[in-house]
């Protein structure tokens, strides 16, 4: 009856993979903060701004994860757009005029930082203080409001989950899921301000699907997910990054050859990370590389 498709065509269920047409990336010309810049088609405003040396704060964005654009600290003003747009995920388009440091942008960035810091313990979030200073954030203005403070979850030997420090950036969920680990042990549960990262029914990690790859720890921007050793050293006042040495090495366990960045304090390994720029592992490891060094200390 229609000139459209045969209605009996099976209906695809579930999200279809996106298949962008492949061609050589063309250049897109746009203007950022009054300066012309050309970026490859498909690049984001964030990447184009970096070309110009403009530093954009980000919290939920990471090169090796699909952008979720939820923290909104990276928003920029795009002429013609009613609202600000997230630099981390908005693709460049020809003729865009973007402002990254207007009063409107600064207000939103400042408020986002204040809203977060007034409800979350950001004391171990490395970039946060720098951003807060840059935008003059004063979270005290919202003091006495609701927070996400809650007891630390310690249910295994390898890492702790302190969701009182969680800004819900979704990075751990992406890393545990289709962006890296394909384990799907954790997800967002609940709604609104009551949303949390959780296993089903808050089941302890040891009973969940978790395989202890630690990739979630590797991407967490706030220290909400932390090696148990680091957590205990911090609690005992022994954690001191100025006394730590950082060495890159190759994981000895298998033939993949992941790069390990070993952090040692007073000749003891205190944690292991992996560089996100690594072409094969993109910063992700497995349980052996991530945690399999404890025997070294025990010798």
């Amino acid at each position: 009856m229609t000139e459209g498709p045969d209605p009996r065509t099976p209906v695809p269920r579930g999200p279809l993979p996106e298949t962008p047409p492949r061609r050589a990336p063309r250049k897109v010309e746009l203007t950022i903060d009054g300066r012309p810049v050309s970026a490859p088609e498909g690049a984001t405003i964030l990447q184009a701004a970096r070309e110009l040396g403009i530093e954009t704060p980000t919290l939920c964005y990471l090169e090796n994860l699909t952008p979720v654009n939820v923290c909104r600290v990276c928003v920029v003003e795009l002429e013609g757009s009613r609202t600000l747009v997230p630099a981390c995920s908005r693709k460049v388009e020809p003729g865009m005029t973007v402002h990254t440091d207007s009063e409107r942008v600064r207000h939103s960035r400042k408020l986002v930082l204040e809203l977060l810091a007034s409800g979350v313990d950001v004391s171990t979030a490395p970039d946060f203080a720098r951003f807060a200073e840059r935008y003059g954030a004063q979270p005290e203005r919202f003091a006495a409001g609701a927070t996400v403070a809650q007891p630390v979850k310690i249910d295994n030997e390898l890492y702790v989950r302190d969701y009182g420090k969680c800004i819900l950036c979704y990075k751990c969920v992406s890393a545990c899921g289709s962006d890296a680990q394909n384990t799907f042990a954790i997800a967002i549960a609940g709604r609104g301000f009551d949303a949390v990262i959780s296993t089903e029914y808050d089941t302890p990690l040891t009973d969940s699907a978790c395989v202890f790859c630690g990739n979630c720890i590797g991407v967490c921007p706030t220290g909400a997910l932390m090696f148990r050793g680091e957590f205990e050293m911090r609690a005992a006042g022994q954690w001191d990054e100025t006394r730590q040495q950082v060495t890159d090495t190759i994981c000895p366990y298998c033939g993949v050859g992941c790069t390990l960045t070993v952090h040692a304090q007073d000749d003891r390994i205190v944690k292991v990370t992996s560089p996100a720029e690594h072409p094969i592992t993109r910063g992700h490891l497995c349980i052996k590389g991530r945690f399999g060094w404890q025997y070294v200390n025990e010798r």
Binding site: M1, T2, E3, G4, P5, P7, T9, V11, P12, R13, G14, P15, L16, N69, V70, C71, R72, V73, V75, T83, L84, P86, S89, R104, H107, S108, L111, V112, L115, L116, S118, G119, R141, F142, A144, G145, A146, I167, L168, G177, N182, F184, A185, I186, A187, I188, A189, G190, R191, G192, F193, D194, A195, S198, T199, E200, Y201, T203, S208, A209
Partner: protein, 558 residues
């Protein structure tokens, strides 16, 4: 997928509930919400064992499934009794004494945002889980009518669904209360299905041209030109989908419910025309979970029309919401149908390009579509002569609050707010203000009553028609409480995805309580500027409009 589950096992009844929803189909993520809803309907809550079974059947990671189950207000992941009494404590209902009374008699009340029954406030929805699940909407509700529902007895239907019942000149509402909403023959005898026949005669292109000539604008809130969306979807590759947005949850809005309950065949006919014009082979109705009667009537209309061959070649699925205002936002709605949390996607891409299942999708509001049969019968240009230049046709207004005759009213665009209020029996001398457009709308003062209720007229005074809520507040109303309730609504309904809205809606509640106008404005600004979707972007709209119009309110608050 290679999934790992806890040892919790499902009971036989739980398995049966999941199997009923999932049928014999291959694992499919988009059956997750229907499966969880069926568990809720039959068991009363979703246990770890039931979730494991549903997730195993549908190949969904259990943590993910829990994320979905815990997102929706009508699903419970904690063990509760089989009877749930949802009482609306929103703006029009003023149900505090009802709630207190019910609680005194030991009824465990769950407070609910607007139930879309504001014309018969106060409202309640009683759900009884079991092998014969029951959902009973009670309005007006008092202690005894709620208790009757708790015992499983049906509630009385109102004598007339609309105040204008019987008046000449109604177009969208002409069948309401006049024509049996369950009879296809009665529908046809009253002119039904002529428009679908005409559509098939003139072909898709001409249908879109008529809609364009009519200058029909969307009635879901954004007033987007319908023909532009239709043409864009029709031009994109198949398969394409049509989604009817019947999730109506904006506080104070109930027009789509009245349309679905009182003229369901017209809704289905209009959907069939839209699908024909845009070449959509599959239609999804997404009906608010709190609307049992509307769901039943649409289902009946689809079944009868299908049985008689009027829907040949169309696949139609009826989905129900599960208690989440945000799922009325079109991209959150797609996520919900697909079996994910109702978290809006960022746009672009827009639905016409990549919508449901990332396919080209037409989304329209119920009322938008119900205009279409009339357009095809009288022709687009004739339709466009009604109303004003920029707002054509007739409009349904949801009038509630301090008026004598609350209800859905139909008028040509251009009626002033004053005349609408007079018509519905509002004591204008005693009026403090009117909330136009719902919680996401704006307050209007008695000095502004001569504004024409058109898209452009309201825009000119810094307001917006939105979902056409017109809620009157007399001088005796505690406006401080009203603003607090609006702020609470957004705090509860934020999906939680983005920081400005997730935290901003909480800070808005707190700043309002402290009477700190400055912070309310600053938070309002970041929500408007930096939130992902319309919920956060409008979460401070009504509140800021009230503070601008009645600056003394904040002093009252301190």
């Amino acid at each position: 997928m290679d999934l790992r589950f806890t040892s919790a096992a499902a009971s036989e009844r739980e398995r049966a509930a999941v199997d009923r929803a999932a049928g014999s189909q291959a694992p499919a993520r988009d059956l997750l919400l229907p499966a969880l809803q069926e568990i809720q309907r039959r068991i009363g809550w979703i246990s770890p064992g039931a979730l494991n079974y549903a997730c195993r059947r549908l190949d969904v990671p259990p943590a993910d499934g829990f994320g979905v189950a815990s997102f929706y207000g009508l699903l419970s992941t904690a063990e509760t009794g089989s009877i749930a009494v949802h009482v609306c404590d929103d703006l029009a209902c003023r149900s505090e004494s009802l709630i207190a009374g019910l609680e005194r008699s030991g009824v465990p009340v769950r407070r609910s945002p607007c139930l879309g029954l504001c014309d018969r406030a106060p409202a309640a929805l009683v759900t009884i889980a079991g092998e014969e699940p029951r959902e009973i909407a009670v309005a007006p509700a008092d202690a005894s009518s709620v208790m009757r529902a708790v015992r499983g007895l049906p509630a009385a239907e109102p004598a007339a669904p609309i105040p204008q019942f019987g008046s000449a000149g109604l177009r969208l509402l002409r069948r309401a209360g006049q024509v049996d909403p369950e009879s296809l023959d009665a529908y046809r005898a009253s002119g039904g299905l002529l428009a679908l026949r005409r559509a098939r005669q003139i072909g898709p292109r001409e249908v879109i041209r008529e809609v364009r000539d009519a200058r029909l604008a969307g009635r879901g809130g954004a007033a987007f030109p319908a023909a532009d969306k239709w043409a864009a979807v029709a031009a994109n590759p198949a398969p394409r989908y049509l989604v009817i947005n019947a999730d109506e949850s904006e506080p104070g809005t109930f027009k789509d419910r009245v349309l679905m309950e009182s003229d369901p065949f017209a809704v289905v006919e209009a959907a069939a025309i839209a699908a024909f014009a845009t070449g959509c082979a599959r239609i999804y109705f997404y009906i608010r979970g709190e609307y049992p009667l509307a769901t039943e009537r649409i289902r009946n209309a689809v079944d009868r029309m299908r049985h008689r061959g009027f829907l040949d070649g169309l696949d139609i699925e009826i989905r129900r919401g599960a208690g989440a205002y945000i799922c009325g936002e079109e991209t959150a709605l797609f996520q919900s149908i697909e079996g994910y949390r109702g978290e809006p996607r960022s746009k672009p891409p827009f639905p016409a390009e990549a919508g449901l299942f990332r396919r080209p999708t037409l989304v329209n509001n119920v009322e938008t579509l119900v205009n279409v049969p009339g357009i095809l019968i009288e022709g687009g240009p004739a339709y466009a002569r009604r109303g004003t230049e920029r707002s054509t046709g007739t409009k349904l207004y949801c009038v509630s609050g301090d008026v004598e005759r609350p209800g859905v009213y139909e008028f040509e665009f251009g009626i002033t707010l004053r005349n609408l209020l007079r018509y519905s029996g509002c004591a204008i001398a005693d009026l403090r203000g009117v909330l136009v457009g719902g919680a996401a709308g704006t307050f209007v003062t008695p000095d502004e009553l001569d504004v024409p209720l058109t898209f452009e007229g309201l825009r000119a005074i810094g307001s917006a028609l939105g979902s056409a809520v017109v809620m009157a507040f007399s001088r005796s109303r505690d406006m401080r409480g009203v603003l607090a309730r609006i702020a609470h609504f957004f705090r509860e309904e934020s999906c939680g995805q983005c920081v400005p809205c997730r935290v901003g809606t909480v800070r808005q509640v707190e700043a309002l309580k402290r009477g700190d106008t400055g912070l309310v404005k600053e938070v309002g600004r970041v929500m408007r500027d930096a939130s992902i979707c319309g919920l956060g972007q409008t979460a401070s709209s009504a509140i800021e409009s009230a503070l601008a119009r009645w600056p003394e309110l904040m002093k009252e608050m301190r």
